[in-house]
């Protein structure tokens, strides 16, 4: 398989600038807009070619919405998404028709639930061949060969091509989903919680498969998950989201050693550890995630933050560069010493 490395390693493949997505709330007979669910708020980051960027956050923090806006499954409220095609950064939101269709070949998605994301009335062959047919890439015998090739790539038996999804286990179904996403030889694959529905032993198989495929095909991943240990394992850099905004962006090794945002610290301390000897002081966040249609003023996290000061409820914190590719949005970033995970291995 040909690896597309002409872009070099540090080129930005995807750039997101001030992206915002609000879902209007309609009420009453006249369906007036009475408010907005601020799912994604002023988010900016960039993804380098060949890397894995992890996005973590709890449910409702906007990670899936972000993925769908990037794929143009939802139209953004404002902001831009730039994607590198033939050496040029093009604005995805300005594309239409054929151009957009061409772009979609480059960007694919793997879904969370391997049970509802495969059509039960289609055979594996039909499921994987569908993107190839739609984009007119291959047909007939060639199509069959390509599907067989893809099945082999993800570690499934080619003979099972004519079976229906119900004949496969969760892990195998997820492999079918991966084969479908890779059918068009994409450059960027968005993995939306690809392993959270799987059993522990199978989860490791799929993570390894994703890593192998990345090395083999030079893929760039946007890896969305709520499980910090999985994200930390697979990612080069990690973006932490809270209530529609990015609170911290950091290289993976830095995240657990040296968190800079109180929310990241709390998230890390909440992850249950399989080592019964580590007795970390657990930070229990009080309360729940606020309503995204009525987020708190200032820093959105101040209502649950144990370090919160007066300024936190008044001013929105700025995005600060802490050096070493580490960015954080917190007023107190250089005053706090936060506790990461110390590993005694």
């Amino acid at each position: 398989m040909k690896t597309d490395m002409t872009d070099g390693n540090d080129t930005v493949i995807l750039e997101i600038k001030n992206l915002t997505k609000h879902f209007p709330i309609y009420r009453g007979f006249l369906r007036r807009i009475v408010g907005n669910v601020q799912a994604v708020n002023n988010v900016s980051f960039s993804v380098k070619s060949g890397e894995t960027l992890g996005i973590v956050g709890e449910s409702g923090c906007g990670k899936t919405t972000l993925a769908r806006v990037i794929l143009r499954a939802y139209e953004a409220t404002s902001g831009e998404v730039l994607y590198r095609q033939n050496g040029e950064m093009i604005n995805i939101f300005s594309l239409k028709g054929q151009e957009l269709k061409k772009l979609r070949r480059d960007m694919q998605i793997i879904f969370q639930d391997p049970f509802s994301s495969l059509n039960p009335r289609k055979t594996v062959m039909e499921i994987i061949a569908e993107p190839l047919r739609i984009h007119g890439i291959s047909r007939g015998q060639e199509l069959k060969l390509r599907v067989g090739e893809l099945l082999e790539l993800v570690g499934l038996n080619v003979k099972h091509m004519n079976r229906y999804p119900n004949a496969f286990s969760g892990g195998q179904r997820q492999r079918i989903g991966i084969a479908r996403a890779l059918a068009l030889r994409p450059k960027l694959v968005i993995c939306d919680e690809p392993v959270s529905a799987l059993d522990v032993s199978v989860q490791a198989q799929v993570i390894n498969l994703l890593e192998d495929l990345q090395n083999e095909l030079g893929l760039t991943y946007l890896f969305i998950a709520h499980d910090l240990s999985v994200v930390e394992h697979i990612s080069d850099r990690i973006v932490v989201m809270y209530l529609g905004s990015i609170v911290e962006m950091v290289p993976a090794q830095e995240l657990y050693k040296n968190p800079k945002h109180p929310y990241t610290e709390a998230l890390l301390s909440a992850v249950p550890s399989i080592d019964p000897n580590t007795h970390k002081t657990r930070i229990i966040l009080p309360g729940e995630i606020p309503n995204p249609s009525d987020p708190p003023p200032g820093c959105k996290f101040h209502t649950r933050c144990r370090y919160a000061r007066e300024i936190c409820s008044k001013e929105t914190p700025k995005w600060r560069d802490m050096g070493n590719d580490h960015y954080v949005a917190c007023h107190l970033a250089d005053q706090l010493t936060l506790q990461g995970i110390t590993n005694n291995l």
């Binding site: 522990v200 199978v202 490791a204 993570i207 910090l228 993976a252 992850v271 249950p272 229990i284 729940e288």
Partner: protein, 346 residues
């Protein structure tokens, strides 16, 4: 101390089978467990290994038409008269089990979204449980319900008691479930994946809550989960299940620090550990859990086992439970020898 005084619940060689159109599913196939009063037992395993069926067998909540407890006994020590009864022998719809369910053995289910009725208020549902088991006035029951809601950390209990479940978040609903389960002060709480549907920070809240309530109410907890991290946080003892059988059991420390069964070793290795070297390859267990309808002779794990593939593993009954060190049992032929310990170099 008398041997019989020790346990609260003792399951001996339990076999629960389901009769489906496609054949017999041996969901639980010879499980033995002992729960001590006031302790937490963690039952770990992947989906389909029979951990929930074990829990439902204890409470006799299994569907009557399609399932049957084929063999075994579930000995449970009643609270007041210290009498021991066999839950397998009693009528699953009778008065006796109904006086135990909810009162002496309570259960929290996985899905906080579906296990509360949407058409009754939170208060109605908790008060119902209290009135069923106690001869008290409704007003008193309501006060008790408010008390319970407060003790699970729901601040505005007075107003929350009249809310419908859809107004609550996932974490709040799980707290309500816990309040309901504890309202009759059970001596055994079965928690069936209580945190699986919740976010990590909420999961941490619930784990801490369960720990403190356990101390306060002096109850035993049977914690069922597939999440090894959650088990490590909460359990005193662990039993690892695979395909309807317990393959390893022991104290938390024994099982996590010195796992013996290849399945336990595989499970522990396949979990990424946060803070550990990134980009180190994970070591997954090959293959997947076999079809529940298939009958596997001998050791059920041998088809995926990296260590041992010889014919002995395939022989009839497979290995028996062997005590490798005090209170640490394993069901594997590797240890079923005179010398005992082998393959310990993991």
């Amino acid at each position: 101390m008398n041997e019989n005084e020790k346990y609260l619940l003792k399951i001996n060689n339990l076999k629960t089978y389901f009769y489906t159109l496609d054949g017999i599913v041996r969901a639980v196939d010879g499980v033995s467990l002992t729960l001590k009063p006031g302790k937490t037992m963690g039952l770990v395993g992947e989906s389909g290994c029979g951990k929930s069926v074990t829990a439902h067998s204890i409470l006799r909540l299994l569907p009557l038409k399609t399932s049957q407890i084929k063999e075994g006994e579930i000995l449970f020590r009643r609270r007041n008269d210290k009498e021991v009864i066999d839950l397998v022998k009693i009528n699953p719809q009778g008065k006796l089990i109904r006086s135990i369910r909810g009162k002496e053995i309570a259960i929290i289910f996985q899905e906080p979204m579906t296990s509360l009725s949407p058409v009754y208020t939170v208060g109605n549902q908790i008060i119902e449980a209290i009135l069923l088991h106690r001869q008290i006035e409704p007003q008193e029951a309501r006060e008790h319900a408010i008390q319970m809601l407060k003790s699970v950390g729901l601040g505005m209990a007075e107003s929350m008691i009249d809310e419908y479940p859809h107004r609550l978040s996932g974490g709040q609903r799980q707290r309500v479930m816990i309040a309901m389960a504890l309202s009759c002060n059970p001596s055994l709480l079965i928690a069936d994946e209580p945190t699986t549907a919740l976010d990590v920070t909420i999961q941490a809240q619930i784990i801490e809550l369960l720990k403190s309530l356990q101390k306060q109410f002096q109850m035993a907890v049977l914690m069922i989960t597939h999440n090894l991290g959650v088990i490590a946080e909460i359990a005193d003892e662990i039993a690892v299940m695979y395909l309807g059988r317990i393959v390893e059991s022991g104290s938390l420390k024994q099982v996590f620090e010195n796992p013996l069964h290849p399945y336990t070793i595989g499970l522990l290795k396949s979990v990424p550990i946060i803070g550990n070297q990134t980009k180190k390859r994970l070591a997954p267990i090959p293959g997947s859990v076999p079809d529940p309808l298939s009958v596997i002779e001998g050791c059920a794990f041998r088809l995926r086992c990296p260590v041992y593939k010889q014919k002995e593993c395939a022989g009839q009954e497979g290995a028996a439970m062997v005590e490798v060190e005090p209170e640490h049992y394993v069901r594997c032929l590797l240890y079923d020898r005179d010398e005992g310990v082998r393959g310990n170099e993991n």
